[in-house]
Symmetry: C2
Subunit: 281 residues, 2 copies
């Protein structure tokens, strides 16, 4: 049974102040246990829909995950998509562009990682970094950012018109939550490898990042490819909320198996005759 929780679903032109959304929000859910039965139901639905997406081979879906460092992008992608057939999903983590990638327009590398029809793609970071980190650090100016918003909208619309559903998810955490995660990486020796001094540096630009995100939400959301803001200080709520979105997306795609092909039946007599022969051997 689904309990109620608020959805921060941003469509065209919606403005939002991230300060107004509590990263610790969990709706009517009070604990991980509260979410288990619904997760199990959603998992079952997902397991029925993914093979249909694959079999029909005519549509695909791209889930874009964004969020501050430590917001749990890796974690939620692992949790949610580990229920999928791994052969039907392409997950790509965008890092700093390589020399070759830098030698192209910023959408070039992203486009290459959009999976083919029948598949699910998940982007861990994305082309949105090109209006976030680049903007925060003054590598692009405001007119360029505005221009890119339009380009991104056109890119997503083109995908949509060609059978690729684009769904964007922002994992919203508090500054305190991030700091605790970073402390954890320093304090636990086996997690030291995850710690990047650069994260402490980026953290100083927290407010700038939040502003740039708000601008992204305002300019790059539409009814067709909205942004979802997920309060993510509680992993169990984050996992449920993302799973809800993933399953709802597939449900709305109206997927079905290809039509039966009655003509195939004509092969059966020969096949059964051969089977008899093989059995006698």
């Amino acid at each position: 049974m689904s309990k109620s929780s608020k959805n921060w679903f941003l469509a065209k032109g919606d403005s939002i102040d991230l300060k107004d959304i509590d990263p610790g929000y969990t709706g009517d859910y009070h604990s991980k246990e509260d979410t288990e039965s619904e997760k199990a139901e959603l998992t079952e639905i997902f397991e029925k829909l993914q093979p249909k997406l694959f079999a029909s081979g005519k549509k695909s879906v791209l889930f874009v995950f964004q969020g501050m460092d430590c917001s749990g992008k890796d974690g939620v992608i692992n949790k949610v998509f580990s229920i999928s057939n791994p052969a039907g999903i392409h997950i790509h983590s965008f890092k700093a562009p390589t020399t070759e990638e830098r030698n192209h327009d910023y959408l070039w590398r992203a486009h290459q990682h959009v999976a083919g029809y029948g598949y699910i793609s998940a982007f861990n970071r994305s082309y949105y970094e090109d209006v976030l980190i680049t903007r925060v650090h003054g590598q692009i100016d405001d007119p360029t950012a505005k221009q890119r918003f339009k380009q991104i909208n056109h890119f997503e619309k083109m995908l949509e018109e060609n059978g690729v559903r684009v769904v964007k998810i922002f994992l919203h955490i508090s500054k305190e939550f991030q700091l605790k995660k970073l402390i954890d990486r320093v304090e636990k020796p086996h997690k030291n490898w995850k710690f990047d001094k650069g994260d402490l540096q980026e953290r100083k630009y927290w407010d700038d990042y939040q502003k740039c995100y708000e601008d992204v939400f305002k300019h790059c959301a539409s009814d067709d490819h909205p942004w979802h803001i997920i309060p993510a200080d509680n992993r169990w709520y984050r996992d449920l909320a993302v799973l809800q979105i993933v399953v709802r997306t597939l449900q709305e795609m109206d997927l079905s198996y290809p039509d039966p092909i009655p003509e195939l039946q004509e092969h059966l007599p020969d096949m059964y005759a051969e089977l008899e022969k093989l059995k006698k051997k």
Copy 2:
């Protein structure tokens, strides 16, 4: 507790007659239930090893799956790798080459799909098709096949020397098993889309394929990158046998987390001071 089952593990120069291996073999295991506790144990070991492979970021592993149509390559890849973190695995199904791929040497496209360090790759079919289907249909002659065996050995050795473990798995089914699967695809309307008339055609070359496979095993196996022949008429046995190989491979790679970095501790006082401030807000 692991029961005993025979391993068809082919190293350098080993000859084998596939007719000598019963595709219905299940060793000391008599049912799916017989395999459950071992599968659970292996899953647990896998779940501990994959993050180490990823964290160390210095090695990778490539599992190559080959087998006749209907041998269950899709199925076993789904079953075995659905226990993995989906962000750490790249699965690629090789189809008939595209125009661009055909315009390159046959190893070109395969090489591109070998995942980076830290990742697991699984190939559903592979460059071995270029000494199988091409040979069965006379697109390449015997001297070319022999030449390709050497090229493949050099390719796999190069990968091995550069940190990519290559493990090759052949799913061995009976002619009867394949026919039953094909009948099933014809009889069940929702499976019709999976049926390819070409499969009935290819089936006529069964013996030729088996011979070509035997030649591959004889020429393209070494102690470092052996072939494993898995009796695959019973799915539950096939899944267990492949999981055993996957886990053993990771165990033999001697994986560990990167060393702790004690110097990081110096960041802690400032981090805790900031945390106190945030809590007071």
